[in-house]
């Protein structure tokens, strides 16, 4: 199980290959990649800057992964979240989970992503034609996380 916070981009294929390397028990690898969109709440977005709480963020993500391990039989999990300035089309986050079967992998991957959106201390600042703005939390993210409770 691995959690990384970094400014640098990540190589999706390399990360997935490393996650499943040498483990013949794995029958399923589910992954999710979040990307920067060029529009949000009706305004064009030319840049998004991600801020986090160093130290606490890693602990929060590790706790989320640990919670997933108690709910599903997963062999490995990887969470990479980028911080700093990002442009539209950039990769923001990778969540990947390995398991024997797809059901466990799909569910755990979705759970980790839903909890990450609501329980990890990240903040988004968008640059729009009207200036910069901090993004408020979304009710839809709360609802997504509540499904697992």
């Amino acid at each position: 199980m691995s959690v990384r916070i970094q400014e640098a981009d990540f190589d999706l294929n390399a990360e997935l290959a490393a996650l499943r390397a040498g483990d013949a028990r794995i029958g399923a690898l589910a992954s999710f990649v979040g990307l920067v969109r060029d529009i949000n709440d009706g305004a064009g977005v030319s840049e998004m800057t991600l801020e986090h709480y160093p130290g606490m963020t890693e602990k929060a993500l590790a706790a989320i992964v640990d919670e997933a391990k108690t709910r599903w039989e997963i062999y490995g999990a990887l969470v990479i979240h980028r911080i700093g300035p990002l442009k539209p089309c950039d990769q923001i986050v990778l969540v990947a989970v390995t398991s024997a079967h797809r059901g466990e992998a799909f569910a755990a991957c979705e759970f980790i992503m839903d909890y990450l959106k609501t329980r990890a201390p990240f903040w988004k600042r968008e640059t729009t034609p009207d200036g910069a703005r901090w993004v408020d939390a979304r009710d839809s993210d709360d609802s997504a996380a509540e499904r697992w409770q």
Binding site: K59, R119, P121, W123, R125, D136, D142
Partner: protein, 78 residues
């Protein structure tokens, strides 16, 4: 009780500081009570916005963490 409070993102910008050490009255025992106390104290820029920060704080409905790196998670139901 002396507590170091850290501010992030929009709250940091609104308050003009990344954090401060506060001497709290003894009846401030939860993060929610701390938030209410700060609002009542008239901190400019502090308001209970629905931001990630506010939501994180709202999760800590129990007593305040014993250390700045402590965190509390709601018990999960299967």
């Amino acid at each position: 009780m002396s507590v170091k409070v850290l501010y992030f993102a929009g709250l940091r910008e609104a308050l003009g500081m990344a954090g401060e050490t506060l001497e709290l009255p003894p009846d401030i025992a939860t993060v929610g009570a701390l938030r209410d106390w700060l609002v009542a104290a008239g901190r400019k820029g502090w308001r209970p916005r629905r931001t990630c920060a506010a939501r994180s704080i709202s999760l800590w409905s129990g007593r305040m963490p014993a250390s700045p790196t402590a965190t509390r998670w709601p018990s999960s139901r299967r």
